[in-house]
């Protein structure tokens, strides 16, 4: 990794700490809740940015992966296995310590899967789905790829909405806190607000660190070659199919982990998390940030999600994201946050022919 990337990473860490300190000293700690949620959404966006910006493959189904992670961990940690206690399989799981007996909100006894094994199961399942879906889907290009991923997202949404075991339109609730270590716990408790802010942003920083390493490695260069000209990359001996598939799976894992953590943080998940509109939002944010611009995607992702979660966009929430997509793609397809932004904007003024490189 280049030293400038190191510097930016330290900048991010400093900013995360500074924001927490500012909110603590100005008594506006309530902002941390939305900032924590934004962080998880930004995690999805960092992954999608790798896929869209660097490998050049659009995905209109990433909310599907987020929902797969969230729903599986929510289902496993809330589904009561007491009636099946005596079956061989459940008894075996119980003996290995994967299950735990706990009380629900009303004092009833529950036997459910522990959050850690549930999280691992959710992420493993996501990986399997990503490889099964990604294999054939990534052979497609352009419109076909967009529609196929849109189709995948819709299937996940329909299944979440139509399955009674997953709570249908209500989703799943009463998801227990996720004890990461004896001292760290992902939960929506007021007292755990600061530590949850750091857990969420810690994950984002980790993801950015991994992604930066990836981008500046042999793999990253291969990905950019695929984006620029797939046939040429093929001819150079790059196994384009393999690279695309692996990066697809990686971005799916980012989304899935975000889904697992946010579900434990919110204490539940609903089908709207799997909706097409969510997927489109993720794409919109990556586009605004400037496609192949991890930092741009991260900044815009945090900003726009924060504004949206605080309710500043009111009932025009979705319309704002739609509008952003159109304006950015019409006028500044390279996105808002890059070094040549002034030149791009100047090119929009009448009398100057805009250059077309998209």
């Amino acid at each position: 990794m280049r030293s400038s990337a190191h510097l930016a990473l330290f900048g991010l860490i400093a900013a995360v700490i500074a924001v927490q300190q500012i909110t603590a000293h100005t008594g506006s700690g309530y902002y941390l809740t939305q900032l924590t949620m934004s962080a998880y959404y930004s995690l999805v966006i960092v992954g999608l940015c790798l896929l869209m910006g660097y490998a050049g493959q659009i995905s209109l189904g990433h909310a599907g992966f987020f929902a797969i992670g969230g729903y599986i961990s929510a289902f496993l940690t809330t589904h009561d296995l007491t009636p099946l206690k005596d079956t061989v399989f459940v008894a075996f799981l119980n003996k290995t310590g994967i299950l735990w007996a706990r009380e629900d909100l009303y004092g009833g006894q529950l036997l459910t899967v522990q959050p850690w094994p549930a999280c691992i199961a959710a992420v493993l399942f996501t990986v399997v789905v990503a490889y099964i879906v990604g294999g054939p889907v990534l052979k497609l290009k352009g419109h076909y790829l967009a529609m196929a991923t849109l189709g995948f997202g819709t299937i996940v949404y329909r299944i979440a909405l139509g399955t009674t075991a997953l709570g249908a339109a209500d989703g799943l609730s009463d998801v227990p806190p996720f004890k990461l270590t004896p001292f760290l716990e992902v939960s929506g408790e007021m007292s755990a607000r600061v530590q949850n802010y750091y857990i969420a942003w810690g994950l984002v920083i980790l993801a950015v660190f991994l992604s930066l390493n990836l981008i500046h490695s042999r793999i990253g260069r291969a990905l950019r070659a695929i984006h620029a000209a797939q046939d040429a990359a093929d001819a150079m001996g790059i196994d384009t199919a393999k690279y695309k598939l692996n990066i697809f799976a990686l971005s799916a894992v980012f989304a899935s982990v975000a889904g697992v953590f946010l579900t434990h943080y919110n204490g539940g998940i609903g089908p709207s998390e799997a909706s097409i509109m969510k997927s489109v939002r993720y794409v919109a944010i990556v586009a605004v940030g400037g496609m192949a611009n991890l930092w741009g995607a991260l900044v815009m992702g945090t900003l726009l999600n924060f504004l949206s979660l605080r309710g500043y966009l009111g009932s025009y929430d979705d319309a704002v994201f739609g509008g952003i997509l159109i304006v950015i793609m019409l006028f500044i397809p390279r996105g808002l946050l890059h070094t040549d932004i002034l030149r791009d904007l100047r090119a929009l003024l009448p009398g100057k022919a805009g250059e077309e490189d998209a």
Partner: protein, 296 residues
Amino acid sequence: MNVDLFFQYIVAGITYGTIYAVVAIGFNIIYNATGIINFAQGEFVMLGGMTAVSLHRFLPLPSAVLAAVLITMIVGALIEVLFIRWLHKPSVLRMIIITIGLSILIREIALHIWGEGVKALPYFTGTSVSSIKLGGVFVSPQVIWVVGISAVMVALLSFFFNYTIAGRQMRACSANREAARLCGINAKNMVTLSFALSAAIGALGGCIVSPITYVQYDSGTPLAIKGFTVAILGGLGNSFAAVAAGLLLGILESFSIWVMPAAYKDVIAISILLVILFVRPSGLFGSREAASMKEF
């Protein structure tokens, strides 16, 4: 299952299948003229249905439908002029994102104008309970309207593309844009025309089907996905094949209720889409060689 029930399912399948075919034809017209898949196609259907419902408050039904089709047509043309016309050789990814953005905007505007409520036009003839007995099957008169109007529409379209100057110019543009321009055809106007035409077809479809399926601000996207499935199934750009593919998908869906809960109906359609995309992206009736020449 007895024979009557079997035919009842077929009739239901044909009704929905016709609408999917109408949406697919809308996709094809724009695709042929521009090489763009308009992700806002479903919104034209919604817009047509919604506008007609509003206009029907003070206009008789036929003029309300006609006015709604005209208004949607103008919206379609405006969209092309404002958002597409002046882009110079935009990339496919850019066009996908722009049309998706447009579909969201149209949907949100509809939400602010008409609210979240479910609306419907009255049945064109008879009421929701009246039915015509064809053999052993009961058919709602609206089904006859849907199939009849769609059939007339397809016939008129094929007349338009084969025997009118404008239609032939559009075909020339889709075959070879540069050559068409050299022959003095204004290719840009043809693209605008294709958007207007496709919007009009979608809007008419939205009007005729709204008594049966109802219309809501967000009813466009599912229709767009199904319509796209049908367009692919028939082979992108081929409108006659789209009709056959539409009926096929409608009937498959209608029988899928047998094996799966109705909530998963969409899952069937989309799974078919994915399988077709993976196995035979040129469509059931399309030619592989022709598909490999196209740039997606």
